[in-house]
Symmetry: C2
Subunit: 289 residues, 2 copies
Amino acid sequence: MATILFGKPIQEKMKERLVERVKALSFAASLAIIQIGNLSDSNTYVRQKKLLGEKIGVSVVHHALPKEVKIEEIKMLIQSLNNDKSVHGVILQLPLPPSLDSSELLDTISPRKDADALTSYHVKRLLEGNKKTLLPATARGVLALLDAYNISVSGKRVVVVGRSALVGKPIALALLNRDATVTICHSKTTNLDDITKTADIVIVAIGKPRFFTRNFFREGQVVVDVGINEAPGSKLEEEIGGRMLVGDVYFEEVKGVVSAISPTPGGVGPMTVASLFENLLDLIEANQA
Amino acid sequence: MATILFGKPIQEKMKERLVERVKALSFAASLAIIQIGNLSDSNTYVRQKKLLGEKIGVSVVHHALPKEVKIEEIKMLIQSLNNDKSVHGVILQLPLPPSLDSSELLDTISPRKDADALTSYHVKRLLEGNKKTLLPATARGVLALLDAYNISVSGKRVVVVGRSALVGKPIALALLNRDATVTICHSKTTNLDDITKTADIVIVAIGKPRFFTRNFFREGQVVVDVGINEAPGSKLEEEIGGRMLVGDVYFEEVKGVVSAISPTPGGVGPMTVASLFENLLDLIEANQA
């Protein structure tokens, strides 16, 4: 039987540590989340961040702007948050409406408050292999999940499927900085199932519900599923916030093949939210030093 | 017999086009090269850049600073070059002496004059998959060499050996942005020869003379050798600037196995120098627009 890489119990331990770090501060820690528009996925993620903030004693301030907002207004808001000493982290909930340039907006955030580690400053340090740099929350969450289950990546062959700037590429670079041999696959990859089978560890983040059936895997592999997808109409095991969620992996089928696999929900998701707050505390502590 | 991917004739065509672009300007184009210390490799590269600049009508100004120079002095020089309207590109010849933080210094260069595309601004755009962004000269040179010989990378399996922030990682990201399936290997990779054999295209950049013998390859592959190494004492075919140069690949041995291979010297090297000037002209034209 495969080991199930549950994220929730690991998140509990991370939360205990976060509570201690928040208590050790001489001021109230605060995270600002800017959300543009009203995507239901984004609403869910913002709610999860608020909930976790409450539990660990970080004030999470949600700035909800209409999707028609002008880019200059968002920039002005970010600038004012950059300058506000009572705010310690600023994140822009992605994706943005297509009319907005997320790259430009992200770079308006001060690197000192960049809790998602998506500004140029942090991206360059990641590329340079700086081991002290912050990682985007999902990448940090994936590594934390592997660490918690004592799965080393050094010298291992890892296949990452998905090449987004938010998830796939940062995960690949973070693994590379930990001495994994990394292959990045995507929609234009041919014979994907042959390539995933060459890996010790397969990490998938493509946003296609249950795309990865048992045919993509072999015994002995570790599978980490970053995908969180709504799957209306299919036979589902879990319901969260009124929506049915499944991963990119066909969990029920694949768990009988591989040696370890993360579930969705309850796998990478909880790690990502906790990792965001670890980033926030890292920034606060670094800025105090 | 393998096709030899000679860079010199391709460089000649690139130079012709560069000459036209320089002539079309209403002012004299100028590139500033800052060199710290006196490494003999760096001296060679600076000389090659000066020579090519002369040939195409770009003035190359060499700022040679002693290796004991203080970081603040280098920053002041970069700032003054950033502000000098007669200077259109500023590059820092790498590597720097180990006491200097190259990441910090590179980011002092204005992205508008960053002809090596190594500032945070360009690195982030590369990670984001922005197809209009400048590439570091070596990455651009490798792609230009493949293009010149009509070797498409889309959908191909490419193995990049070497994970430096200057060469290996930018090449991998640039290939990924062109829809290649990319594997990045390095010193901690196990069974490297098995992995290189899975590739359609192998690109090596590790700086170890003739490390890649025929055992790393199989027939039908394309091999691009980015390495330029001094190989004292070995039996050598070419002599440049008084030093004996070989690549990371054992060219004489491997050319009998694969279907195409770049030589060293005379392969990627000439492409890289010409690509630097293409970057410079791209910056000038973009800043005029």
